[in-house]
Symmetry: C2
Subunit: 595 residues, 2 copies
């Protein structure tokens, strides 16, 4: 195999072509599981300088790729057709829904077997080889079925471009007989520009926006999670700082804005959140809504969807005013260029001086101040735990919060600067975050090694908060963490079952119970090293405040090096206020819908 | 909720209707994972006398349902739409390919949300609620989207009938707003007769077959795995006994014929099996091929597909002669009725007296006899291990063998009578058998409790042989085994990675390595009881023959009560002869196909 650094090497194998394109786009590690239809593709990984993560199963490989893609802006996974790709398809669905750019490369049976509808293993036995790509059409934005050396490079490039432009998964089928097909080595990078990009249009939109900013009396910035897909966090924060406009985060958008900024006002939780915050959003005459995802969960039963008539929506390729549809001529902007120009314009533009909101009593810093001191022996309560944990978070931490109590509780965190918070607000497949911890922490490590600015702002710590029920779904993710020597702290909230489901329905029903595990045995079971100074392993159990403090104040826990597994016991019936209130709100709405 | 035993109770809730139909068809336990769109369905489980298995994740619930369905002839699983159903879809694909009758009941969002394309959690965010049922069309034989109380019972009945007739999975969507919709309670059982069933035709086919049997000079019975879907093992064995015809098993069909019968001749492994066996199949003038599945793996690279011109194929609703297509008039037989009549006819029919085959040197009993005694300290070798393990198998054991070395090795087992052997020969999704062990052993336990004949022939033991790589895919299945207090023996063949893949390609490549686990910690990690006399837990590690004997001769291991986790270390490069030869055969064929 040729050195990928060289300029023009004539022809190369098709498998190498695909992997070199991935490297050009920023992939450093490939996730997946080996299988007989992809083994010859795997031969190319190491010689090209890529790392093979080698996951314990495909669903976890998919979740890990999603996490990796959110950090690096591109991820790649390799599976075998039929069994492997279908095991991963729920993760691909999640990446599609929440827009993580994952390239799913599937090793398929040789074309001769496909043409003769041969009953080879991993098929459905009915000769239908198209079933799998057809299924994948619903969860990917582009599909490339590679059938010959001539068309393959173009199809690969088009799929990869779609992956980046949409920040959503794509699907590439490589039959075993084409792995070594000779194709021309890539000599130019893939053109990643949006086909509708129009600088004149971008400038016009910019002018219109500046006008709106100048005339606003009660502007608000509402930061949502898809803003992270812009990959311009610094620019976004500079905009927040420069305007001084009151700024709120959705649950999905938490962590994007530096919470230390004086105009950061906390979380916007619609009907169930802080009342004075809601009032001020209701009174706003301009809502700058970055990267919105108006799901029932993120928009709190749709009660937090901002009023269209006062809202400007910022997306990767569009800035939309009010209830207007997308540009009828299909013209697009480029958000990085747009925001950079906007910042420049603000240097010479007089903006209205806006007073920060009056913070309500139920905004996190006020809630924390109001907490009565807890005695060491007191049991841990959900509504206090998350607020108090804030002081153990460090600038640059990578935080993941699993669906359910952790997601809801972490919404009250008071975050230090440069933290990244990953969660799920639409797909909400429980178990997602454990493998996503592996993938995202690995991506952060790569960014650090590559000297990337985002990487160097990292603390090196990656901390997951996950419930005991969710942990069971994808627990092999711990094995993948150890195998890849990821520095990770896993905080298991053990509350004896699916508390989020209890809150929704069947509070005391046995179907919301789970098999109780001895969670702190996990590192030993999954083969963590026992005396490796480069990868220390910590396990601890916590049942009250005193134990919590003594664990979190340990130097090795604070350092976050190696693997820490901290099991925190909470009452099965206890849940964060947000979760209880959202559940009640959604349940009522559902009842109305069912009537 | 009404008592399901009563005759006519007027109207009942739709969810109850579905579950009562499942009970009527033989479902005793429902597998699945709770989720907010199915919680209200779960409320009906316990009051109707059903058991909720409560799996750790949906893929495992699907695998467990497949195993349960193979034993009981019907299985049911409940998931949440989107995330839950897609997590399970690989298992549903396997049930489709290998014909296990699984009813997949999916709790969906209320119809009002679907109609308005609401962006509720577990959707793709694009309002496409039909994506999931469209994806499921490829892996189920019927889909019922329940939309109103009037049509729902008919749609449910039709789907369940398709499930039974095809012995393949079906898909039912129940929106939360229809769970309590009032429908008429079922007063008659579902009509399960094949629409094309024609007794006159059945008799004509019978006559033709009897004629063929009488005129055969060199007949052979070739028993394949889909025969198990007939659920008439005793009748099949009586046929084998009465005819005295030489009888062979495919890898997928192993265990169906009593291997103690004098005319049982061992396994048929086509091009790589015993040569004298192959010669005699090649010379046959009549091959009675029961329940065939001609996949590359089961038919050994298609080298073991019998010659069409001398073959009679027995299926659930057809007996086909030679290369003839299915009956052009669409007429069907019913295999149980057909075989029962056939046995009756054989009482008065003179059949040719056929000499048994001369058994070749590589037939298991001969291989076992030829083995040199092993010293206690000698390491275990694959080609000796499986033969020697035969003596520890008991009549009535339920055996499962995972894809890879276990599948290939177990093909040389010498089985006592009434054993059931479950494996995968087409879908081959690694990790399948661990949850399938839970499901199938649970189904066997139910049959015993119900006093069913198949159940009473059971030893009460369920033994899985699985490799260390496969175990990692679905390891939570151990938790489900413990939670449901399944008596199970798990034999982990620890050979340091994916040996089956090594044999295929990349023998020493790091991508075929896995994270080494401390496998015998599994029971403790997954919360097995520590001192429960009703559920004893055994763990052991075995590195040589002496350790193997001493473990298997323990009374508690022999009893198979509770959970035993036995880890057997073998050399990473060692593989059963069948696996090596099939891999070489398939690799050569693939190369030819790729040329």
């Amino acid at each position: 195999m040729a050195n990928p650094g060289l300029e023009d090497q004539g022809t190369i194998d098709l498998a190498e072509y695909i992997l070199r394109r991935l490297i050009q786009l920023g992939v450093g590690t490939v996730h997946g599981v080996p299988g007989d239809y992809n083994l010859t593709i795997l031969d190319y990984i190491k010689p090209l300088g890529l790392t093979w993560a080698g996951n314990a199963n495909e669903l976890n490989a998919g979740y890990a790729s999603d996490g990796y893609g959110r950090i690096k802006g591109i991820a790649a996974m390799i599976t075998s057709f039929g069994v492997g790709e279908l095991s991963a398809i729920n993760a691909i669905g999640g990446a599609f829904a929440e827009k993580s750019p994952v390239v799913h490369l599937v090793g398929t049976a040789p074309q001769s077997a496909q043409k003769t509808k041969a009953c080879v293993h991993h098929t459905l036995g009915n000769g239908d080889y198209r079933a799998f790509p057809e299924m994948n059409k619903y969860v990917t934005v582009a599909q490339a079925n590679l059938t010959d050396a001539e068309s393959a490079p173009g199809l690969v490039d088009a799929a990869l471009k779609a992956c980046i432009l949409h920040s959503q998964p794509v699907y590439i089928q490589l039959p075993t007989n084409l792995v070594k097909a000779q194709v021309r080595a890539p000599t130019t990078p893939i053109d990643l520009s949006h086909p509708g990009y129009d600088e004149g249009y971008e400038n016009k939109v910019l002018d219109a926006l500046v006008e709106k900013l100048q005339s606003a009396k009660k502007p608000v910035i509402l930061m949502d999670g898809l803003t992270a897909r812009f990959h311009i966090n610094e620019v976004i924060n500079e905009f927040v700082r420069k305007t001084g406009f009151p700024t709120l985060s959705t649950p999905f958008g938490k962590g994007i804005v530096n919470e230390n900024l004086p105009n950061y006002q906390g979380s916007y939780d619609g009907a169930v959140g802080d009342e004075s915050t809601k009032q001020q959003i209701d009174d706003a005459d301009l809502i700058l809504n970055f990267g919105p995802l108006y799901s029932d969960v993120n928009a709190i039963g749709f009660s937090a969807v901002p009023r269209a008539d006062v809202t400007v929506v910022f997306e990767t390729h569009a800035v939309k005013f009010g209830p207007e549809p997308a540009d009828p001529k299909g013209r697009a902007i480029q958000i990085k260029s747009f925001m950079t120009k906007l910042l420049k314009r603000l240097e010479t533009t007089q903006l209205p001086k806006i007073q920060p909101f009056t913070r309500g009593a139920s905004v996190s810093p006020n809630l924390l101040k109001a907490l009565k001191p807890a005695a060491d022996g007191d049991p841990l309560k959900q509504d206090e735990f998350w607020l108090r944990m804030s002081k153990y978070l460090k600038p640059g931490d990578l935080l993941l919060t699993e669906a359910g109590t952790s997601f809801a509780g972490a919404n009250t965190f008071i975050l230090p600067e440069n933290t990244i918070l990953l969660n799920s607000c639409l797909w909400l497949s429980i178990g997602y975050t454990l493998p996503a911890l592996q993938g995202s922490a690995l991506a952060q490590r790569e960014l650090r090694k590559e000297g990337h600015k985002e990487g160097t702002r990292s603390s090196g710590r990656a901390i997951l908060f996950i419930g005991d029920g969710s942990l069971q779904m994808s627990v092999q993710g711990i094995s993948d963490i150890i195998r890849n020597r990821i520095d990770a702290t896993i905080v298991v909230i053990n509350n004896d079952g699916y508390t989020v489901e209890r809150v929704l329905h069947g509070f005391e029903e046995s179907y919301n119970e789970i098999q109780p595990w001895r969670n702190t045995l996990a590192p030993a079971f999954f083969g963590a090293p026992e005396n490796d100074p480069n990868y220390p392993v910590i396990t601890a159990q916590v049942r009250n405040w005193g134990e919590l403090w003594s664990v979190w104040e340990r130097k090795d826990v604070q350092a976050g090096k190696g693997l820490a597994m901290i099991e925190i016991f909470m009452n099965w019936a206890d849940a964060p206020k947000l979760l209880v209130e959202v559940a009640a709100y959604v349940a009522n709405r559902n009842k109305a819908m069912e009537a």
